[in-house]
């Protein structure tokens, strides 16, 4: 029965957990490890959860804590809350540009967002959790979540704009010398 529940949990959540892990670690292999580690912690301790309905947020919270724990071993956390006011809405790429982008590029842009903002932003874009749930999971006040979403979205727009511009510059006109060298 316990293994049945475990299998159901894995099937329901391993992909979104991996996506969250990928945005945090910026590395597919580390993200896979972090996702596995989270489920193994559930296998050891999750049975003690009193409310089965809380399993999903428990998994995401645990994954985030494990990420922080692992990262703290390597470096000091930089406080990014005092970096100044949110910049005014930067020029955002058009929606159809985002839609036309490869999903991997959008995830790469997300990974360029500062880590403090990246965690709430990824959870927000997964659309599975409300801002209140995100605040609980990250153990920060609701106002902080809103603020981080605002800053995070600004950084994401800027990163997407950079990627779009870099993509455009890769298209070389045929009448340029560099184009002739390639042919």
């Amino acid at each position: 029965m316990a293994s049945e529940i475990f299998n159901q949990l894995v099937d329901a959540h391993y992909t979104p957990l991996f996506r969250f892990a990928l945005s945090l670690t910026r590395n597919s292999s580390d993200a896979g490890d972090l996702t596995q580690q989270t489920f193994f912690i559930w296998a050891k301790q999750g049975h003690a959860l009193r409310e089965a309905g809380k399993a999903k947020s428990w998994l995401f919270t645990t994954l985030y804590r494990e990420f922080l724990r692992g990262r703290r071993r390597a470096e000091r956390v930089t406080a990014l809350e005092d970096l100044g006011p949110v910049e005014a809405d930067p020029p955002a790429p058009e929606v159809d540009v985002v839609t036309g982008m490869d999903a991997g590029l959008v995830v790469e842009a997300l990974q360029e967002v500062d880590e403090t903002y990246r965690a709430p932003l990824t959870l927000f874009y997964m659309q599975d959790f409300s801002y209140k749930e995100i605040a609980e999971m990250l153990e920060v006040p609701i106002g902080t979540v809103m603020s981080r979403l605002s800053r995070g979205k600004a950084q994401l727009r800027a990163a997407l704009a950079r990627k779009e511009s870099a993509g455009r510059s890769k298209v070389v006109a045929f009448n340029q010398p560099s184009a002739r060298k390639l042919s």
Binding site: A2, V10, T35, M126, Q127
Partner: protein, 242 residues
């Protein structure tokens, strides 16, 4: 609420509309309805968020990750104790009280548990004597015990008196009668011992197990009878009967 405040709050409004019923967004959404510039900003914001969200949620997990997690989960043993509860002074005090109560109760109890372990020992010894067995008991009882659909711990519709009258093998343990019948389930032989509950009041309803010298026994009780089932097939085989 001005437009800047509304924008700040609406950053947390998910593009799939899940937050439509959240009162925290109500005032900001009303402001959106009133102000055309804010409405345009909100429409752009929602379209952008929806596009990013769709791309993120299209990202697949690597092949083999699911299987690796499932395989790892199968070999991960659950912790039966939580890491932090025992660190709490309140829990520690409660645990100490329970330990004192338990030790006192154990010291004052008239020691039936030892008698039941002795009964289980007796059953193990008796069941090990091959020459004593070989199809004693009524056929209907053997058929009932041998039926894989019957979970023995859920109770058996039997009468101690009727079984003894029908010629079930009877052994005497410390002056108390115990009936014995062999039965086969799925090719495995078991020896069932049935006593009167009144003669063995300390046996619990929850099955308990004892393993000794290649034999295992399961013991439990219902309102009228106590049951001990022994086998050389091991504890797992006994658990399947229950």
């Amino acid at each position: 609420m001005n437009n800047e405040e509304a924008k700040f709050i609406l950053q947390g409004y998910r593009p799939n509309g899940t937050d439509a019923g959240d009162a925290a967004f109500r005032a900001a959404l009303e402001q959106v309805q009133r102000d055309p510039a804010l409405r345009e900003w909100f429409a752009r914001q929602q379209a952008f968020d929806a596009a990013v969200s769709a791309q993120l949620n299209a990202m697949p997990a690597p092949a083999g990750l699911r299987e690796a997690i499932l395989a790892g989960g199968r070999v991960t043993t659950p912790d039966r104790t939580q890491a932090s509860w025992w660190r709490s002074p309140a829990w520690l005090a409660a645990a100490a009280s329970v330990a004192v109560i338990f030790a006192t109760t154990l010291a004052l109890w008239p020691k039936p548990a030892a008698a039941d372990t002795a009964l289980a020992d007796y059953v193990l010894a008796d069941a090990g004597k091959d020459e004593m067995h070989g199809g004693h008991g009524t056929e209907s009882l053997q058929a009932m015990l041998g039926d894989p659909a019957n979970r023995l711990s859920r109770g058996l519709p039997i009468s101690f008196t009727a079984l003894r009258k029908d010629g079930c093998r009877t052994v005497t343990y410390e002056g108390r009668e115990v009936l014995e019948v062999c039965f086969n389930r799925g090719g495995v032989w078991f020896h069932a011992y049935i006593g009167r509950r009144a003669d063995f009041p300390a046996l619990a309803a929850t099955p308990a197990f004892l393993d000794k010298e290649g034999m295992s026994v399961a013991a439990w009780a219902d309102d009228s009878h106590v049951y001990l089932v022994a086998s050389k097939a091991g504890r797992a085989a006994l658990q399947q009967l229950l």
